[in-house]
Symmetry: C2
Subunit: 341 residues, 2 copies
DNA sequence: TTGATTTAAGCAACCGGTTGCATAAATGTT
DNA sequence: AACATTTATGCAACCGGTTGCTTAAATCAA
């Protein structure tokens, strides 16, 4: 069908191996021959067949991305495109390709991963989450393939490369930010302890409160899905308490927007009646009304560093398993203010 | 290194070809042999090497996705994850993998595409946009690879499979929706005629206005980027006109949110002072304040259908080049109301 | 000029599967 | 029992590159 290395070789009166070496610009080939072969490759419209190369070199130059793919529960909307962008940037630079899992359920995602790894379709894997009772990471560990987790692995974290924020610290800072405004009745939303990030942030929140000598009622700790109705209900439950919170910590901007609307419906003003601090610092936080004070977790950077680590690891599989922490920074806007007394 | 078909064959005292046929569950092999070989495969932990299969079968079971990858300009945030989800669903079902372009600039994206297609890394391509002066589609056409465009191709559209909304119609309906509320001074934002979708919707808008016998000032037609400052500026320009519009058509929910905020800052109320209709019907439109009336373009479905068409086309490359139109539907919420007289 | 050394190119095995064709074994027919 | 069919398996070429090793040619040293 298409032009192969042999066709080129025949036309150029050289051996296929010579053509192959021309392609990889081997120093074993003279400039003269290289020119000749290149000319003929162009004439014939030769194009390298990557699959053949992959098979021979046993290297795919492809990294697999394992992601939760379901609608709501998954990554906060903005997370996914942004982290992909970060990964892409690096891949593009080092000429790697990206392959995605397509599964919806945990089972499917696991199978996709096995197919990628066992089937030798990728050189390395980036896992976009860290979750309890997850089968993917243990499998990867056992398989020996290079991989990086975005988020802090819950097992053998010393033995696994990961890229993460310091979520405990980030939540602590967010909490302290509110505490410094005089708030003491602070509710924490997003306590999904299935995912490591949820647990870590909850811990940070609790620590900050304890450091300040404050008790936290369980009624102030809420989980939430990425769902308007549920979000509104959570806000309602909090505000209907005998002692409603005066400040809210919310795990992402979209949920914060939901809260904002929900509070508005009850005629509660942000920040005058309730202060809100959220995570992600996406464009939503910039344009909501009022603009949200939000913790920038630097999603692009997370992806970028993860890809960076992974490619290093692929090039030297025995390297020291480092982990990198991406700093977070609070972007102050107008959703927090001093507690009215 | 790992277990190959030959290792299994040796251990089972059969030929490699037999093992291969066992794997593909060929009717040529007896049940007895199948059981025996399967048992040994399990014992040895055999795993198919996909690259070898790809090379031999000349089929990758992978589809490539060509996307604009840059931050702002690109797809409205929510579009990308949602369309991927739609594509994934189908791919998962038919056991296809997904490969992404990683490039940022048009040039890089084009090169990524060539590498995918020329390098035989994919069986087909989905292009996530339709743009003027685009080199990708002509290249794909020439290459002969099966591909589907999401959006209406600007060249040879009879010869190219595509999945799209009827954007002219959608914009017309949105416009009529506002006209029926008595609005006549309607501004259209998002007139980026580089992309087909921008142009089509603009035409729909103009048609609807013309049908109603209304002139449209050029001052009412604005382009906008996915950037808060620019968005606000656009709104400002419109509202500072001697005759400011009473209704706005905005190409996506995030920009509508920007507009909402921008109008709020000028103490203009939505919908009392200005009506807004936006596109995409993302979660933002549901939770903004007020909730936005938005045209649902069914992004998931666009991806789903595109993948569906592509896989059909891969299975039968000579098939009739159909195109499918995904219906749009206006979700009424609270951002539009009758024009005050 | 001759032998040693460097440089350039070719040979052939290999990566790990798939598949058309040949052949052996099993079954059926008369 | 002898031959025609059917069914099950094996042989070997092939997919399109890569690479260790060998060999031929060119350059160098003496």
């Amino acid at each position: 069908m298409s032009v192969t290395i042999k066709d080129v070789a025949a036309r150029a009166n050289v051996a296929p191996s010579t053509v192959s070496r021309v392609i990889s610009d081997s120093p074993l080939i003279s400039e003269k021959t290289k020119r000749k072969v290149h000319k003929i490759m162009d004439e014939m419209g030769y194009q390298l067949n990557y699959n053949a190369r992959i098979l021979a070199q046993k290297s795919t130059k492809t990294i697999g991305i394992v992601m939760k793919n379901s609608t709501k529960e998954s990554m906060h909307n903005t997370f996914f495109p942004e982290v992909i962008r970060g990964i892409s940037a690096l891949c593009s630079k080092y000429d790697f390709s990206i392959s995605l899992t397509t599964g919806e359920s945990e089972e499917e995602i696991f199978n996709d991963t096995v197919k990628m790894v066992g089937g030798k379709r990728v050189d390395g894997i980036i896992v976009l989450y860290s979750k309890k009772d997850d089968k993917v990471v243990p499998y990867l560990l056992e398989s020996g393939i290079p991989f990086v987790v975005i988020g802090k692995p819950l097992i053998e974290s010393g033995n696994i490369m990961f890229v993460d924020n310091d979520n405990v610290q980030a939540a602590k800072e967010a909490t302290n930010y509110l505490l410094n405004f005089g708030h003491e009745k602070i509710a924490y939303i997003g306590a999904d302890t299935e995912f490591e990030v949820g647990e870590a942030r909850l811990n940070g929140f609790l620590q900050a409160m304890r450091d300040k000598g404050l008790d936290v009622s369980n009624a102030y700790i809420k989980d939430t899905q990425m769902d308007p109705n549920h979000g509104k209900q959570v806000v309602a439950e909090l505000m209907d308490l005998a002692e409603p919170p005066t400040a809210l910590i919310i795990p992402n901007d979209l949920n914060a927007l939901i809260a904002l609307t929900s509070l508005g419906e009850r005629n509660l003003k942000v920040p005058d009646d309730v202060s809100i601090i959220s995570f992600n610092n996406s464009m939503i936080s910039e344009v909501s009304n009022p603009p949200l004070t939000s913790v920038d977790i630097q999603i692009f950077q997370l992806g970028h560093e993860a890809a960076n680590c992974l490619i290093e690891l692929i090039n030297d599989p025995d390297m020291f398993k480092k982990s990198v922490i991406i700093p977070t920074v609070i972007h102050e806007r107008s959703s927090c203010t001093t507690l009215k007394v």
